[in-house]
Amino acid sequence: MKKKLKGNPWLVPTMSWILAGMMLLSLLLPDQSFSQTENRPLARSADFTWKSMETGKTGKDLNAWFSDQIPGRNLFFHADYLIRKMSGQKEIKGVYLGRDALLSDPEKPAGDTVTENVNAINTFASQSGMTCYVLVVPGAASIQSDRLPFEAPAEDVNPVLDTIGSTLSPAVGVDVRQSLGEHASEYIFYKTDHHWTSLGAGYAAKTLLAAMGIDLSLDDFDRMPVSHSFEGTLASKTGSLFLDDEIELAVAKNNPNYIVTWADGSKTSSIYHKDALKTKDQYQVFLSSNQSVVRIETDADTDRTLLLFKDSYANSVIQYLLSCFSSITVVDPRYYYENLDMTLGSDLFTDCVFLYSYDTFVTGSSLHDVLDGWNTEHAPEQAQPEAEAETQPAEETQPETEAQTDPQTEDQPAQDQENPEA
């Protein structure tokens, strides 16, 4: 019986042609430097040093090189998605294949990161004297849970968000679960990306600004579609097919004027980086790629100035803030390696916002690393008034000055009442 099954004259010639064909193609085709589908650089060489050969690193490099450059890599990557989907699989690499959308499973909090971030923010709020607002944004799997596959065990973010809200003091928590939840059926999160859309960002901006005593109407913004072919990080991770997104900009109808100073010192008159629409990372249309510090000077008729600590979720929120502040200084601690005093300089900020995605806030240590450095330098017991006054007059006087001039100080109790769940 065995012999009968093994006597297949077609198998060896067919497989020989396939193996030889793939081998020749891989040798003849030029190496690619970047995979648009997976959105990552591809391996193109191996380390042939003695140490690498000794430890086996060279072999690993060669495997990675060949694997990255295999002919038809994108085809195989998409085939993997289709096969898994057809076999009834509803989750690939931590991404749920939901109803007409890909939804990433929220990250589990890493160690004491949440506590450390909250403590660092509270200390910063009390020592800087600024009113600090904290907005931690749950992802699509939490807000649009009806899109999740049946019985998908997505991480419940609510207990952590509740804890964050209850432990923030004097910083003020801003909870957007309700405002986003009311619009859950709308296009507020991308289907193929872990970010929110301009519409989702707009609803959150409205809630945030309301907490800050500023009224924002989304009707004051034109929604301008700029791309219908966005395939985001979740598509890159799973190799999904037949799903893409539309990117809209929210441009204020009053057309505010502003100047953006980027991290490299260059200046532009737009926060939008339209060249990004020609690349894979189309979300970078909002505030370009990762920038450590961005300063925006606007012609808004207000004295309020904003210091914004953020991750990429805030990039699409900033378009709603341009008319509300005369200046916005945006700090992304993940790429920020300077002393915070250097950035804050002599600027007097009336407001400070921490705007983070849930995943970054519960797993990333960069925020408290940056704040802890500043908090330690400005700790009251360490302050040497005379010596500090000579070297850092602005920071030394800032808390007191802001406490006197900050129009929000008196509004604080009211804001707390507006956010009872926070």
Binding site: M22, S26, R40, P41, G56, I83, K90
Partner: protein, 460 residues
């Protein structure tokens, strides 16, 4: 290099195989295979290669010395020395760090430095030493032949462990034939299917359910490992046999549908056959086998199973697992196996599945306590619920995988293939080839997808 590396599938294997078709006709055939094998092994690092080469040299010289000596006491001294050095190398890499790492923390690094496949090719070398000493076979004709025997790239990483006396004739002659090539290609594809499509996906299911304390989740967690281990190892063994067949060698099956066994003893005739045979031939039988007193026989059985446990790992759970298997076999012998024979067939299969599920639970846990907790949950002790959403989701997500696994592990896949052959008669070859090409493409897709690394954009 592993069989599932794309560089192996699309560069190393085709290049070495195609060129071998020319080399096979020359007297350099074995030299060619040895060089290819050393290049294959060097992929894992030159340090590992150096250890392999030294072990090959040492065992080859020992075998030659044993065969050249006529004085029995000198032969025995060389045997002890050869085996002692081999076992010391194994002890040094595998056990020293685990057992004595507490005294000298730097020793803890040793297991991580162990060359790939050390315990497999060392046991192949020991088989040669023992067989030459017992004059069951002549010493290898050349270092090249011995290198091909012990370090052939098809099995140097994960066996099957070679038996020298049965394999030796093939070193002199291993002609290529159409039948061998066809069988080899089929075996290789079957092994790839088992490893990439079944085992690797069970590994994902296993990691997804880690820590789940619901009854369904815990049971699924246990069965995920149960199937992963089988398809991983049997897949690799099939690929090894297939590769050997492409080069004209014949390696006996290492697995024979072990989960269809109806007793633990039967299971061990079907699971990792090359290791079981090694222990039987070189430990159990020299100890007297069953031709000794009852108490001595009990000791022989337990000794073999303690060593089997230790061969798999240096920690307490492996030792316990070995003793557990030995005790089950002794239990089956109680009452002349009558209690087992009286059981209906289906119940014997259920008994085997449950005992091995429990066995693999010890095997897969880093401590006895966690293993016992997991086993307790199989029997509803310590569960937090009957089923939670993670368990139900995992079950639904892997339903197709479980069905395919059961079909393959039960041997029903062969029945289906025969049925297809009867229905399609003359076009079966084309159908089967098309099917295997699709399966191969799926395997490559899964390997490519698994190789996707970190995404720059994800941090944005």
């Amino acid at each position: 290099m592993a069989f599932t590396d794309l560089s192996f599938l699309f560069v190393f294997l085709p290049v070495v195989w195609f060129c071998y078709r020319l080399a096979a006709r020359t007297k350099f055939a074995n030299l060619y295979i040895l060089i290819a094998s050393l290049i294959f092994y060097a992929w894992g690092g030159l340090t590992s290669l150096a250890v392999l080469v030294l072990i090959l040299l040492w065992n080859y010289m020992s075998a030659k010395l044993i065969s050249s000596q006529e004085d029995e006491s000198k032969r025995r001294q060389i045997l002890y020395l050869a085996v002692g050095v081999d076992l010391f190398v194994l002890f040094f890499y595998r056990y020293l760090g685990v057992w004595f790492g507490f005294a000298l923390p730097s020793l803890s690094r040793l297991p991580g430095l162990m060359p790939a496949g050390l315990s497999f090719y060392l046991f192949s070398c020991l088989s040669c030493i023992f067989d030459v000493y017992r004059e069951k076979a002549q010493a290898p004709d050349s270092l090249i032949d011995f290198g091909v025997y012990a370090a052939f790239f098809g099995r140097v990483n994960m066996g099957p462990i070679a038996n020298y006396s049965t394999f030796r004739p093939q070193l002199a002659e291993h002609k290529l034939s159409r039948q061998k090539t066809q069988a080899g290609m089929l075996l290789f594809l079957q092994g790839l299917f088992r490893k990439v499509i079944l085992a690797d996906n069970f590994a994902l299911l296993y990691s997804a359910l880690a820590g789940n304390t619901s009854w369904i989740g815990n049971l699924l967690f246990g069965f995920a490992y149960f199937f992963q281990l089988y398809f991983d190892f049997s897949g690799y063994s099939r690929m090894a046999r297939g590769t050997a067949s492409l080069f004209g060698f014949t390696i006996d099956p290492n697995f024979d549908l072990p989960y269809t066994a109806d007793s633990v003893q039967d299971f061990w005739r079907r699971w990792h056959i090359s290791l079981t045979s090694w222990f039987r031939e070189y430990i159990y039988i020299p100890l007297g086998g069953n031709r000794v007193s009852h108490s001595r026989w009990l000791m022989n059985i337990l000794c073999v199973w303690v060593l089997t446990g230790l061969w798999h790992g240096a920690t307490l759970p492996f030792l316990f697992w070995g003793l557990y298997q030995g005790c089950l076999i002794l239990l089956e012998h109680a009452g002349n196996r009558q209690w087992l024979k009286r059981m209906p067939g289906w119940l014997r299969h259920v008994y085997l599945i449950i005992t091995q599920l429990i066995g693999w639970t010890f095997f897969s846990n880093s401590s006895l306590i966690s293993g016992l907790s997991q086993i307790g949950r199989y029997f509803l002790i310590g569960i937090t619920s009957f089923a939670d959403s993670a368990a139900l989701f995992a079950l639904l997500n892997s339903l197709v995988l479980l069905i395919v696994a059961i079909i393959v592990a039960s041997g029903f896949s062969k029945t289906l293939a025969l049925l297809l052959k009867a229905k399609t008669s003359s076009s079966y070859g084309k159908f089967a080839t098309a099917g295997w090409v699709v399966i191969f493409a799926i395997c490559v897709s899964f390997i490519v997808s698994a190789s996707a690394q970190t995404f720059l954009y994800a941090v944005f």
